[in-house]
Structure formats: C-alpha cells, structure tokens
C-alpha cells in the first residue's frame, strides 16, 4: 500500500507511540490528583506543554490543549467575537477557502449578528496582506486566515498579514493545522494572537490539538467544567495523547529542514509526472505550497471513481468531488480558486510524507496516468471534449 493522504491524517510516529504507550499502560493517573501517580502525569503534561510552546516560539502558559483543530478554531473565533462584542466591534474577516471548522463557526457568529467578509483567494489560492488591510473596518474585531490550505496546500503570507493586523489593532487567528510540523511556525515573528493545530497531521495521535492564545487574552469557554487548562478548557487531560503529540511535534521540528527538502523534491517529481497527462491542471500556486501537497484537476472524469480505482492499486488518495463528500457541490476550495464545477469534480489530492520514496512516486504517476486514461475512455464528457462538442477548461 502507498499511503498518499497525509493531509487527511498521518501514521503515528515511533516517537509518538513510545511517548504514549507507557502512559496508557502504567502512567494512567489523573493529572489533577495529588498522589505520585497523578503528579507524574502532571509532570508529563507540563513537559509536553513546554515542548509544544518551544516548537511554536510561544510561552507554556499560552498553550491550551484541546480535542483537536476544530475545537481550537471554534474557541479562538468565539473568544475573539466575545472580546470584539465588548468594544462594539462585530465584523470578522476571513477567506473563501478556510476549513469548515472556521466557515461553520463564522456561520454561527453571523446568526449572532456578526458581519463576515470572506476574501477572494485568486486563481493561485493566495490572499495578500493588502487585501486584508483594505478589508479592515473600524468595527473589525478579528482576522482569521489559514496558514496553509488543507486541499491545495497554498501557504499564505501570515507574517505580513500579522503585521497589518498588529498595526490596525485587530486580533489575528491562523488555522495552522496543515502547516505545523511541516514548515517553520513562529507565533512571535508572525504576530498572531491565536493559532490552532492538530496532533494527527504531523504523525501524532488523533483527538488532540492545541490552541495558542497570546498571553493576556482570556479564552471564552466552549466547554464547561473543572479547572483544567486554567478553567478555559475543562475536562480531564488526555495525557497520553498530549504527550504523543508533543513528541511527534518535537521530532518533526528537529527533522524539518531535511524532511522539507526531501518531500518537496518528491512533490515536484509527482507534479511533473502528473502534469504530462493531457488536460490536467495543478491546483494552487506551485511555489507557495506545502512540501507534501499535490492537487490536480483532470478534464472529463469524476474523482470518486478515480479514488476507487487507485485504491484497487493500493494507493490511498482523496478528491474534492461532490460524490466523495456526499453533497451536491464539489470542493468549496476548488470553486474558490475559480475551477468550474465540472472540472472540480475531477480532482485528486495526493499528500506525501518523508517515508515515501521516488519509486513510490513513480508508481503513483503510472497508476494515475492509467486510471485517468481508462476513465476518460468510458466518459461521454471526454468524448464530447475530443470531438469539439464541449470546450476544454484546462488546455
């Protein structure tokens, strides 16, 4: 099997498992308990907090452990909204291609009377700091823009946007779920007030994430209970998962330079190979892009059948077609970068990691080429395109 869906989730690393297993088997104490077993768990928890803080260039008391990226996103947005509301500021700026954790939280805030501006992300999948500066109004309380897009991997100019927000006195949140562990992240240099991350996107476990909140920003609770995480995120801490995530993150940061270079080379080999398929188009900027992300649209075919046939060849991938999501519309990300519906249905995302080899990449290229060719052979849309009865969108 070739696992090429690392943006969906990653295989837990040895380091993550080694950190977790003893805590599941022996060190199972509640970190709030006074006896030694509990206090040992507390030590592990605080060590993990220090590790995560170091990886982000934050302070340990700015790190809140959550159940994952979606919870961190929701809490960041609701916190900024509550803080804004107190000053009579009820306008939020974001982009059209955010993760649904952000877009749906914004929907909820709109129902509470907030106004939301979603910035255009252009054909290359990038927003600019100038767009943000122009969109900021006197009543803007928050800008929330993802560090890297989960589907097309484009990396936004977060430091430049952070500088704009700082200058205008607007809170800035970034969903860095796809970026952390893959590219350098620095909350101080970026001047972000809130940042979300998720453990399972960098070879840590599922069900655990982090909300970074700059010191002085009091989080609004979205879960109520005890005093854990200074009362801002109650619930008994999942110490094994938190420690697994911290171990995976520490390892990812240590190996980042080497892994990035290696995975970027694999990515570019894959892009070059797939680009040879006629009427295929890369989605998103080729340079401002996560090391492991490859995303193409193919004319004349539909994504789900492509995924099923790749699965038959042992290749795990994903698509932005409507059929893979169970909804009528294809990926909002592909629509946001201007892909028409009929082409967005024929998309394929392959996301790589450092364990892959050039031979894996060549196997994927051969498989995708064969399957796209086969599906086009039975497609009436492809026939129409070839016979000139329909126009190609991708030349």
């Amino acid at each position: 099997m070739i696992y090429a869906d690392n943006a969906a989730t990653t295989r837990p690393s040895r380091a993550a498992l080694d950190a977790m297993l003893p805590l599941l088997e022996e060190g199972y104490g509640n970190a709030s308990s006074l006896y030694t077993l509990g206090q040992k768990a507390r030590e592990h928890l605080e060590n993990a907090r220090a590790q995560v803080a170091k990886a982000l260039n934050a302070q340990p008391n700015e790190i809140y452990f959550t159940s994952g990226g979606s919870e961190a996103d929701t809490q960041a947005l609701f916190t900024a909204a509550r803080l804004g509301e107190k000053q009579g500021k009820k306008h939020i700026i974001s982009t059209k291609f955010e993760h649904h954790a952000i877009l749906h939280a914004l929907d909820a805030l709109e129902k509470q009377g907030f106004a939301v501006t979603l910035l255009d992300v252009h054909e290359n999948g990038l927003v600019t700091a100038e767009q943000v500066a122009q969109a900021i109004r006197p009543d803007t309380c928050l800008v929330t823009i993802m560090t890297a897009n989960n589907e097309i991997g484009t990396i936004q100019p977060i430091a430049a946007i952070g500088a704009v927000c700082k200058e205008k006195g607007v809170l800035f949140h970034t969903d860095a779920v796809q970026a952390v562990g893959h590219i350098p992240v620095d909350v101080k240099a970026w001047q972000v007030d809130f940042l979300s991350l998720s453990g399972h996107k960098f070879h840590g476990p599922k069900g655990v994430g982090v909300l970074f909140a700059r010191r002085g920003l009091v989080l609004a609770n979205i879960i109520f209970g005890g005093a854990q995480e200074r009362g801002r995120r109650p619930g008994t801490e999942n110490v094994p998962a938190i420690c697994g995530m911290a171990a995976a993150l520490t390892e990812a940061v240590e190996h980042m330079d080497a892994d990035r270079a290696r995975v970027t080379a694999l990515r570019d080999r894959l892009i070059a190979g797939i680009a040879k398929i006629p009427h295929s188009g890369l989605n998103g900027d080729a340079v401002q892009r996560l090391p492991g992300n490859v995303n193409f649209c193919f004319e004349g075919i539909e994504g789900e059948s492509l995924l099923l046939l790749l699965d038959d060849k042992g290749i795990c991938a994903s698509s932005g077609s409507a059929c893979t999501s169970g909804s009528l519309d294809p990926s909002h990300v592909l629509l946001a970068i201007g892909r028409p519906h009929e082409v967005a249905h024929g998309s394929l995302r392959l996301t790589l990691d450092a364990s892959m080899t050039e031979s894996d990449i060549d196997t994927i290229i051969a498989a995708v080429t064969e399957v796209v060719g086969y599906l086009r052979g039975i497609s009436p849309v492809w026939r129409d395109l070839q016979e000139g009865k329909r126009s190609y969108v991708i030349q």
Partner: protein
C-alpha cells in the same frame, strides 16, 4: 465498505461499455456540473433491444448502475425496458447508499431517453407523458432516498 461487492464488480468490470456507431436510439442524461452524465446507445431489432452500450462520467455507483441497467434490458422488448425502475437497478446491485440512489435514477432515465430518441427517429407513436420527467440535475436530491 461504502459499496456492495456487486456494485464494485460492475464498477471494476463494467458490462456493455462503449459506443454503438449506428445506434437506433441514443439518450444522454445528467449534467457535468453535478458530476454525472450517462449516455446510452440502443440497437433495436423487431422491437427487441438487440444491443446496448453505455458511456458514463461519474462516481463508482453511477458506472455500476449504468452497467447493471444495460444487462437488465439487453435482449428484452423495448416495452419491458421502459418498465425498468431505478429501484430494480439498485436492488440488482444489492443496494446503494441512500445518497447514491440518484445514480440508479439516472440509469433508468438514460434508458427512457434513448427509447424516446428511437421512437422519435422512427416516427413511432408514443405517449410523451412517459418521458415527462427526464433528467435535470437540480431536481434530484443527493441526500434523500428516491
């Protein structure tokens, strides 16, 4: 698994895939915008479907539904093919997920559309009400059971 073994079999090894150049009736339903189009080609001799081929742009269940539907009408009288319901296609595939039922509807409609084309080309009188609700992407609801 998302699909039954039968769906996967018809998806992996679709029956009657291709084109009939001198078809007596051709029907196309669906919309590329919605992610599925089915095209059916019929060869009809003495009121019997002598040959049938299809081309499909769509998901696994769309390809499997087209394949199964062609098998169910091949060698049958045209009048019988018109009776083929989407439920019968889905049942023959050992079921489809609820949000994929529209794929079987498209298969039923593709056949009706091809028969309608045959009737019109040959000037065979027919009840146009039979073909009243053909196609249209925005009428079907991917989330509902048909």
């Amino acid at each position: 698994m998302l699909y039954s073994e039968k769906v996967m079999d018809h998806f992996r090894n679709p029956r009657n895939v291709g084109v009939i150049e001198d078809a007596d009736g051709v029907g196309e339903v669906g919309n590329a915008k919605c992610g599925d189009i089915m095209k059916m080609y019929l060869k009809i001799k003495d009121g019997i479907i002598d040959d049938v081929k299809f081309e499909t742009f769509g998901c696994g269940s769309a390809i499997a539904s087209s394949s199964m539907a062609t098998e169910m009408i091949k060698g049958k009288p045209v009048s019988e093919a018109l009776q083929l319901s989407n439920k019968a296609v889905a049942e023959a595939l050992d079921g489809l997920p609820a949000y994929k039922m529209h794929c079987s509807v498209l298969a039923e409609q593709a056949i009706k559309s091809a028969v309608q084309d045959y009737y019109e080309k040959k000037g065979i009188p027919h009840d146009s009400a039979l073909f009243a609700d053909l196609e249209c992407c925005h009428d079907h609801d991917h989330g509902a059971e048909e």
